[in-house]
């Protein structure tokens, strides 16, 4: 048994067979073969070795001709390794005696050699392994879309296109060697509502496809080759989570309402259009944050107006007449291959991203706005601009929007003239000037992930300073408080999205501070609703008053945990 600690990015527990993808996306699918196919598998192995030898010989000849025999020598070495009787015998024995699949046998044997070899030879052995696997598997990189049984995906990293093509019916969890809380894997796992752990560090050499693995998405743990006792414990835990979910399911059609009758709007955060179904299943009051970034990821070209429109209309139609708040483009230029590469992005979090990039590339921005406006004719759409820092930025964005509206009008394209326009509050400068902003928007949405990062000047994917990144920090709470009060003075709706709203610890505080809308991942809706229904507003307001007088994140967090345990014991873990 081996326990590995990573970063927890999507909650839940998954137990099952590993599907290992290495840095090149090779997959080791089956572990065992049937007794009566052993002959056939041996033949496959033989063909694979032959084909791999031919490929190496071709490389050797090409390199030798071009650069001289000396440079071809390394291929000659690979060829002789592959032709050696020891390797062949070992592989055949594993297939005959233990009924390993040739793929599994290759990965096991090669991994073992990689371990005993001196460091300098490991790359050679890995090369040979890849070559053999490529021959055995035939095609590469499509494997995630061709699953036939449930798997936990273990990879160095997952690209947007790989995750986009995966077969959602069979993927039960993700583990990646690299990546942080904002990584693509994290977002996709949360959207699929399956557990995920990222940033584990190198570990793929310790595991083969078909190995039994546990992913603990709550603690950020991955357990390889778990013992019986651990498996039993996690099965029990998974069962508890399931039964809790069943208990919460009865809340589906009940309103999110405090015990003393104050209605709270429970909205969903989504990334992919299909997640709108998760919102409906949980009885959400709407979509509070529809991130549109997936449209730009994993494709070589910039999405066209029609691509946007198809995605938006699916969400808007499904949710109607409930509201859908669509956030405009919120990425850096590095994620959009169609845009010219950024020149000075030494510090992307402070660079040209999000609304800044939209204002810089107006045609791209207009395409998105046109699609959103067209979708506004199909249901209840709201438009939201991210990362607004100054009032001039907001005005510029609104001007472009007005211009696009005029354009649609001229061409007699249907859209909702009275579509609500709001902004994300996630830059401290915007909070400081919030009294001016509330004069020019229809609603506010507080984005805590960025607000925390910019307020405390901390990068949450940097493990050395991540301890500073804390939603409980009094400075962050003071900014949230200021924003809510400014909105209340103008009777503007104010929402809070970001991870803070989905964490049960903060629900009482946020209600007590005056929020009546919470936008959370669809999977968190039942829990947060349960808390709303278990507390009174009077209690929440008392909690908020107390918290706003505290001076450290630690005091705030432990007080909030204590209060939650007192009021809603089921969540007091």
């Amino acid at each position: 048994m081996k326990k590995l600690q990573g970063i927890a990015v999507s909650a839940g527990v998954a137990i099952g067979e590993a599907m290992v993808m290495d840095t090149e996306g090779f997959r080791i699918p089956r572990r065992f073969v049937a007794r009566d196919t052993v002959e056939y598998e041996l033949e496959r192995l033989g063909h694979a070795i032959e084909a791999a030898c031919e490929e190496i010989a071709r490389n050797r000849d090409a390199v030798s001709n071009e650069l001289g025999e000396k440079y071809g020598a390394i291929f000659e070495a690979h060829l002789q390794i592959l032709r050696g009787s020891q390797l062949r015998e070992e592989l055949e024995e594993l297939i005959c005696e233990r009924h390993y699949s040739p793929e599994y046998a290759v990965s096991r044997v090669m991994r073992r050699y990689a371990e005993v070899f001196q460091k300098r030879n490991v790359a050679d052995i890995v090369d040979i392994e890849k070559l053999l696997l490529r021959q055995l598997l035939g095609r590469r990189r499509e494997e995630l879309s061709r699953l036939t049984s449930p798997v936990l995906v273990l990879a160095h990293n997952l690209t947007p296109s790989e995750t986009a093509n995966l077969d959602r019916r069979f993927v039960r969890g993700f583990v990646t060697e690299v990546g942080g809380p904002g990584s693509h894997t994290a977002i996709v796992a949360a959207a699929l509502e399956i557990p995920a752990v990222v940033g584990i560090g190198p570990f793929l050499t310790d595991v083969s496809g078909g190995d039994y693995v546990i992913i603990d998405g709550d603690k950020g743990l991955v357990i390889l080759h778990p013992d019986e006792e651990t498996i039993a414990r996690y099965h029990h835990e998974a069962e508890e989570i399931r039964s809790m979910a069943v208990r919460l399911e009865v809340l589906r059609d009940l309103p999110a309402e405090t015990a003393d009758g104050v209605r709270v709007e429970m909205l969903g955060n989504i990334e992919f259009p299909y997640e709108v179904d998760h919102c409906v299943d949980r009885g959400a009051d709407g979509v509070g944050l529809y991130r549109t970034e997936f449209l730009y990821l994993g494709t070589e070209r910039e999405p066209g107006e029609e691509d946007h429109f198809q995605a938006y209309s699916r969400v808007v139609r499904t949710m109607a007449p409930k509201p859908v708040t669509i956030r405009t483009f919120d990425l850096g230029a590095d994620k959009v291959p169609a845009l010219p590469p950024a020149e000075d992005e030494h510090n992307p979090a402070l660079g040209q991203r999000s609304i800044r990039l939209s204002l810089r590339h107006v045609p791209m921005f207009r395409r998105q706005l046109r699609a959103i406006l067209r979708a506004s004719a199909l249901g209840n759409v709201r438009i939201m601009f991210p990362l607004v820092s100054t009032i001039l930025e907001l005005r510029q964005a609104k001007m472009i929007l007005a211009d696009v509206m005029e354009d649609l009008e001229e061409h007699h394209v249907a859209y909702n003239r009275n579509v609500l326009v709001g902004m994300m509050v996630e830059v401290p400068a915007a909070v400081m000037m919030i009294d001016h902003f509330v004069e020019e928007v229809d609603f506010l949405s507080i984005g805590t992930n960025d607000l925390i990062q910019y307020t405390l000047a901390v990068d949450r994917s940097n493990k050395d300073v991540v301890w500073l990144y804390n939603a409980s920090d009094p400075a962050v709470l003071a900014l949230i408080d200021k924003t809510i009060r400014a909105a209340q003075r103008k009777s503007l709706p104010v929402n809070l999205c970001g991870q803070m709203s989905g964490s049960p610890v903060y629900t009482m505080l946020l209600l007590g501070m005056g929020l009546r809308q919470l936008s959370v991942p669809p999977s968190a809706i039942p829990e947060i609703k349960k808390i709303c229904r278990s507390v009174t507003l009077a209690d929440c307001e008392a909690v908020a008053r107390h918290v706003l007088g505290l001076e450290s994140a630690r005091d705030v967090f432990s007080y909030l945990k204590g209060e939650l345990k007192k009021r809603v014991p089921e969540f007091g873990t």
């Binding site: 000396k70 020598a73 390394i74 050696g84 050699y113 070899f117 030879n121």
Partner: protein, 99 residues
């Protein structure tokens, strides 16, 4: 026919140990003779006719190895191999590691 079985002690004299290129040099040299050569390191034994075998020894620089040869050309094979070891597999030669 007489099958002499000879042994010779050699030292891994290059800077990086018995790695892929060194193993290839041994392999290529050994197969030129009508003889079977095995390399013995402590209690491990590897055939000079199998690259993977030799690499599995993981012999470091300075490691002493015993070469065992059986066959009509055992003497010549050991002479040639001993020279290869002594020359540090010709890795520091200006031209190339191969003879």
């Amino acid at each position: 026919m007489d099958q002499p079985r000879l042994t010779r002690t050699v030292t891994v004299a290059n800077r990086t140990g018995l790695h892929v290129r060194a193993a290839l040099a041994i392999y290529n040299l050994a197969r030129q003779f009508q003889t079977q050569v095995e390399i013995v390191m402590d209690r491990q034994r590897a055939s000079a006719g199998d690259m993977l075998h030799m690499l599995s020894l993981g012999a470091n620089p300075g490691q002493e190895l015993v070469l065992e040869a059986i066959g009509p050309q055992a003497e010549q094979a050991l002479d040639a191999l001993a020279e290869l070891f002594a020359a540090g597999f010709h890795e520091d030669d200006p031209q190339t590691g191969r003879r």
